[in-house]
């Protein structure tokens, strides 16, 4: 595994309930890249993401995150990987009985050795970075809107200043303006914190404006990868439908 590769997946297979969902795929992600994973519903995007994070068991193949194979990792190693990776779940997965600030503080309390004042300051700073005000910080997750939930989920994923950020559909269910803000946020954070971002998305606009590389998943395999412009060159019916449909064209033009 090359020095600047932070994620490396090779020949990964996942069988769930007798069905082969991921059918032997390999790719690498280099430090500082923003990689977007696209695919039809049911093509295995979320399964791939969850398998990479060790939330689902894989059938065969190798997943290395920062040079560590999670299934061979010692408790200390997997804790270290957990510290260096942030994950934003599709529904936010905020802890419902903690306030937004406490949600962001939670990983800090687990991993760092600072004081409450430090956690509070940095948590409020992270919330401000994703565009929340101090007045919002003491709300409970049930009291905020869907867009805010996504922002807070990103803030929590960023709590420990991770090296890799995994995002599961960061802009789904948001209006175009909020989605655009999230895109800008991801770009800014990537630049400022030098993150590597791996995101599952359906949003053609964020693919175009945020991602440095796109992986297209179809039927459990990667059928194409490259920049947005390259996607049009591949001759695959699903890819053509996806990127040259009306929405795809609109995104290309914009």
């Amino acid at each position: 595994m090359a020095a600047d590769e932070v994620i490396s997946v090779s020949d990964l297979r996942v069988v769930l309930g007798g069905r082969e969902v991921i059918r032997g795929l390999s790719f690498n992600v280099r430090r500082g890249e923003i990689v977007g994973l696209v695919g039809a519903s049911g093509s295995g995007k979320t399964v791939l993401l969850r398998t990479m994070l060790g939330l689902l068991p894989k059938t065969s193949g190798v997943v290395e995150i920062m040079g560590v194979r999670l299934e061979h990792a010692t408790a200390l190693q997997s804790r270290r990987v957990g510290e260096r990776c942030g994950m934003m779940f599709q529904q936010g997965a905020l802890f419902s009985s903690l306030t937004l600030r406490e949600n962001v503080e939670f990983p800090m309390r687990e991993y760092l050795h600072g004081s409450d004042a430090m956690y509070a300051d940095v948590a409020l700073a992270k919330l401000a970075m994703v565009g929340l005000t101090d007045a919002d910080a003491d709300k409970l997750p049930s009291e905020i809107s869907g867009g805010m939930t996504k922002r807070v989920a990103i803030a929590r994923a960023l709590a420990l200043d991770p090296d890799i950020l995994f995002l599961d559909e960061p802009t789904s269910g948001l209006d175009p303006i909020a989605a655009g803000e999230i895109d800008r946020l991801i770009r800014t954070l990537q630049r400022v914190l030098n993150l590597t971002v791996f995101m599952v998305t359906h949003d053609l606009n964020s693919l175009k404006s945020v991602c440095s590389r796109i992986l297209a998943l179809y039927d459990g395999r990667i059928i194409a990868q490259g920049a947005m412009g390259d996607m049009l060159a591949f001759d695959h019916p699903w890819l053509r439908a996806y990127f040259q449909g009306e929405r795809g064209k609109a995104a290309q033009l914009s």
Binding site: S97, G114, M118, A128, D134
Partner: protein
């Protein structure tokens, strides 16, 4: 490879210089805190030089920023020399965010908080009571409409719940009542023996079981078993907006969710009480035969003399009323659940605690009532 953060002070013509080096990252949080409170000579200018800092993240920026702030508060004109590279972006992003929050968390004084707590819980009690009356009214109305057009009573759902709360509770309730019957009889024989009153043990057990113990045991078990389940079900439906979905379809959650459950409880409780009574008296009979030297025939004869249908009625009249209160409290606590997992847990706890409390209060009220009418 990981080097802890350090600060080195030196002086230059332009004033004091603090040179930061090492990794200023969250992994060294404790060191960062220590360094951010470094002492300064309170004079002149201070430059914080971060040129030789290795890795830097939000926590490092926080520490450097706090260092600068402390210096400024101490009367030193401090600034951070930010190199023109990616770190500048980090500073810009984090500093802007940090500068926005200079907020003290207000703490009221203890007495006021205490009084406020009392006031709030008093109001919450009044609100709860009003909500209870409101629910009773709605249930009555709903039931009345159901009597006029029986399809609205949702009997299929009620029977499903009757199976869950009644039939499936039978084994545990029978076992529990059997054991309590055994214990009552054993205690009776043990203590009455001393003054030769073992004949009255059967009277004691019969009256206690039929009038009080049977129905209390059953309703407490129902509150713990079904009341909590109702609260959890209704509460999680509330959390997942299923109840709102019903409302927007123009359907009444009381008719669909609450009334069938309460009807099931009202039917199940007297039936379970009969089973519980039987099991307890059977248990007492077993102890009488094995421990109290009373043959089953004698026990049955005494039982026949001691038990009156009034005792049985007293128990059975109480059961549906208590079941109604258990169901209503459970539904009410379920509807109060907010978005968080914690509020669901609080609701389930409150449901069980309150309904058992109300069952016992009701039992007392019934005792007075029955005494007044000579039952």
């Amino acid at each position: 490879m990981a080097v802890g953060p350090t600060l080195r002070s030196s002086s230059s013509p332009g004033g004091a210089v603090l040179s930061a080096s090492g990794d200023w990252t969250g992994a060294h949080a404790a060191d960062l805190e220590r360094l951010s409170q470094a002492a300064f000579a309170p004079e002149g200018k201070l430059t914080i030089d971060i040129e030789s800092v290795g890795r830097l993240d939000t926590f490092g920026v926080w520490a450097l920023e706090r260092l600068q702030r402390c210096a400024t508060e101490a009367g030193v004109e401090a600034r951070i020399a930010i190199p023109r590279d990616a770190r500048a972006d980090l500073f810009a992003g984090v500093e802007k965010a940090l500068s926005r929050q200079r907020r003290q968390i207000a703490r009221g004084d203890t007495l006021a908080n205490w009084l406020e707590g009392i006031g709030l819980s008093t109001r919450a009690f009044a609100v709860d009571f009003a909500a209870f009356l409101d629910l009773v009214g709605r249930l009555t109305f709903c039931f009345w409409q159901g009597l006029r057009s029986p399809s609205r009573l949702r009997l299929r759902s009620a029977i499903h719940h009757l199976d869950r709360t009644g039939l499936r509770a039978t084994p545990i309730i029978a076992l529990m009542c059997f054991l309590i019957g055994c214990i009552l009889a054993q205690q009776g024989f043990f203590h009455f023996q001393r003054f030769g009153a073992t004949n009255y043990v059967v009277d004691l057990v019969t009256i206690l079981v039929l009038r009080e113990i049977g129905v209390l045991l059953v309703t407490i078990m129902v509150a713990g078993r079904s009341g909590s389940a109702y609260t959890a079900e209704i509460g999680s439906m509330k959390m997942r907006e299923e109840i709102d979905a019903l409302r927007t379809m123009g359907l009444d959650p009381i008719e669909y969710l609450i009334l069938p459950r309460i009807l099931a409880l009202i039917v199940a409780a007297p039936l379970l009480t009969i089973i519980g009574n039987g099991a307890a008296l059977y248990g007492a009979g077993v102890v009488a035969a094995t421990y109290g030297d009373m043959s089953p025939a004698v026990y049955l004869e005494r039982l026949h003399e001691a038990a009156s249908h009034i005792d049985l009625e007293v128990g059975l009249i109480k059961a549906p009323v208590m079941a109604f209160v258990i169901g209503a409290v459970a539904a009410l606590e379920g509807m109060k659940v907010q978005g968080s997992a914690e509020s669901l847990g609080l609701g389930a706890t409150a449901s069980v605690v309150r309904s058992i409390f109300f069952v016992i209060v009701l039992d007392g009220i019934f005792a007075v009532l029955f005494a007044a009418v000579g039952m």
